[in-house]
Symmetry: C2
Subunit: 397 residues, 2 copies
């Protein structure tokens, strides 16, 4: 385990936890939401903007950075922090999710996975060892192992095989990892079978990782199934390591998962929907394209302390969105990130002061979550678009 990485629990409330993580680039309080900076930038924001919304750590994607600008460029700058001028902690994912979500563009073996670049069609191979080396080169504070993430709907046999591979890759990743100033997290997989999830949790927990992620959720399954998996997985995880739920970022999903004992989250959802007019309020997500916002002098969310709500009316944001103005993306992104980051801080306060259950009930009672049928349809559409995009881009040129 990394010597420059510590996790301490500051308080618990039933199964919910509040903690502090120390990394070589600073500390963060948990539960924590990590804004996603896929291509070495949180879309539309400067590092100062990210800091100003209260974010304490960002996530960046090994897959994308590997292809562009390329590891050698980032290495020349001494790592990702310097390249993108973000001084706080960074977690890098392994690229596994991206490769597996690209569908037929890959060739899989026990050694690793070969795929074609969505940018220029060039062929690349991810092995557990290479992915560790790549992230050591990026210099992130927290690196993730390469895992095999099954698709929703895969049969039990496929899931079992992928799990065995994931576990072997976890061991190989640990053996390959050398940087003492970088933490390495393992990833629990196992699809939707309780016994496999339990087996995976126990296995990953037995290895010398600095933290443990739960992967393979939020890939198209109903929310209730995901919560059930969490309920059955978390009891088998150690209490003294941070628990990171990958790919969850809806306000209700965050609260439900914190209640079950999750400490860390990342998701493109808050930033992605913001750019398309989807903005968080305590009552639920609004669609800013609605005509009702055309003349609204009030900000998006009453009492919101973000830069956007402090300074601009809904009508102005509506105008920027309708006029396809670049400034819209920034103002909307700031609002949604501040919303989820503040929610994490509120949840932490509630945990430390013993009223998390009331806080969660109050928030979930007021927050109208996206209708589950609509949500699943949107997710399926997004996954399909994602694959289609990769395929259309992936042809050599």
């Amino acid at each position: 385990m990394s010597q420059n990485f510590t996790f301490a629990i500051a308080g618990t409330d039933d199964t919910a936890r509040a903690g502090v993580i120390e990394t070589p680039h600073g500390r963060m309080s948990t539960p924590v939401f990590m804004p996603v900076g896929t291509q070495a930038t949180v879309k539309a924001l400067t590092p100062e903007d990210v800091h100003d919304v209260g974010a304490e750590i960002i996530l960046s994607n090994t897959y994308h950075l590997l292809l562009r600008p390329g590891l050698e460029i980032i290495e020349r700058f001494g790592g990702l922090h310097q390249f993108m001028a973000w001084e706080g902690p960074i977690l890098t994912d392994s690229g596994g999710f991206q490769v597996f979500s690209l569908g037929h563009l890959r060739k899989l073996s026990d050694d690793g996975v070969t795929f074609r670049s969505h940018i220029d069609g060039s062929e690349h191979t991810l092995t557990p060892e290479f992915v560790v080396e790549a992230q050591e080169c990026l210099g992130s504070d927290i690196a993730m192992v390469l895992d095999h993430c099954p698709s929703y709907g895969d049969d039990d046999e496929t899931i079992r095989k992928s799990l065995e591979r994931t576990h072997k890759w976890a061991e190989r990743s640990l053996s390959a990892h050398q940087r003492k100033d970088q933490a390495l997290f393992g990833i629990v997989q196992g699809g939707w079978a309780t016994d496999l999830r339990k087996e995976s949790a126990k296995f990953i927990a037995s290895l010398d990782f600095s933290g443990i992620a739960i992967g393979g959720l939020s890939v198209g399954e109903p929310k209730q199934i995901a919560y059930q998996i969490l309920d059955e997985t978390i009891p088998h995880l150690p209490t003294d390591k941070p628990r990171y739920l990958m790919g969850v970022g809806s306000p209700d999903g965050l609260i439900e998962s914190i209640a079950r004992g999750i400490d860390m989250f990342d998701c493109t959802l808050p930033t992605r929907i913001a750019r398309n007019g989807g903005l968080f309020t305590p009552e639920g997500r609004i669609n800013l394209r609605g005509a009702r916002y055309r003349e609204q002098e009030a900000p998006i969310a009453k009492d919101c302390d973000c830069y956007t709500c402090s300074k601009y009316s809904s009508a102005y944001l509506y105008h920027l969105l309708r006029s396809e103005e670049l400034l819209y993306h920034r103002l909307a992104t700031i609002h949604n990130l501040r919303f989820v980051v503040r929610l994490m801080k509120q949840a932490r306060e509630a945990i430390l002061n013993g009223y998390f259950a009331e806080f969660a009930a109050d928030f979930l009672g007021r927050y109208q979550a996206t209708n589950e049928e609509t949500r699943l349809a949107q997710k399926a559409k997004w996954l399909a678009a994602h694959r289609h995009w990769a395929e259309s881009q992936g042809k050599p040129r």
Copy 2:
């Protein structure tokens, strides 16, 4: 003339002038460059960003605001300043240039000009009186009269007719103007005929405007012709009113025009080319798409004091541009605006301290202006694209 608008000359150096303009929303030092915020936003920047590059006034476009969000929305907010949260001075143009550059989408008479919206095909009529009323509603500090801007290549008869119309419209605009807290500027036209420019300068100078603009240049003519027109026009303008050259924003064009006695400028060029990879340096405009920037650790311009150059390498900007990241637009815009705003401040210092000729010779000797043939071809392409865009958008739906 407006009682809240004053212009004082602080110093001259040969024909170059340094002054101070006071408006209800604050003062600016001249020569001054006005960043363009077409749709109530300087593209990709917040008001804080605009302030931080040193800009003291922005320009916004009546034509665009009229169509979207519509005057009634902005009026509801008490004007454009409040709507877009910019507290400094604003100059609004009259919409004339936009309407005339839209080609066949308009019907012209002595009363005004009727056109179809490029957004929804709806029909609108600009008259001198309506344009004044619209700008009073927007609450800009400086309003412009409606003028008839001929195209480069129009024959003498067409230009003479348009000039007569422009002069009548100038008188009607003055009669219609009521807000005492808003300055109204007249516009000199006259195409490329010395006698018509002289006649127009004398006529507009004889009216009770707070300032005088020179319009109808930078519309596709060679630079030397534009400079010749300035040489023949400016001696007929009063010395005690600010002189505003519309549509010029190339660094060499700014210096050449300041030398001839211009005080104010606006242009989309610095912000528009920035978004496409064209960035200013003291040696000339670079194209950031060039492979030489892929690994360059140095900022875009050595010794540049802008936020972008203070914090980011050329390689990072190159990566953002190549990856089509939103943050690129903001960082590039900040750099180019800071470049021209700083150039104005340096020119002012040179004028006040009596070394403007040396400053200008030094700057122009070092700055490799865009090749004139290339520039004219680019301008023609832009004008054509502009018309084509308007036509493709202008169909009712």
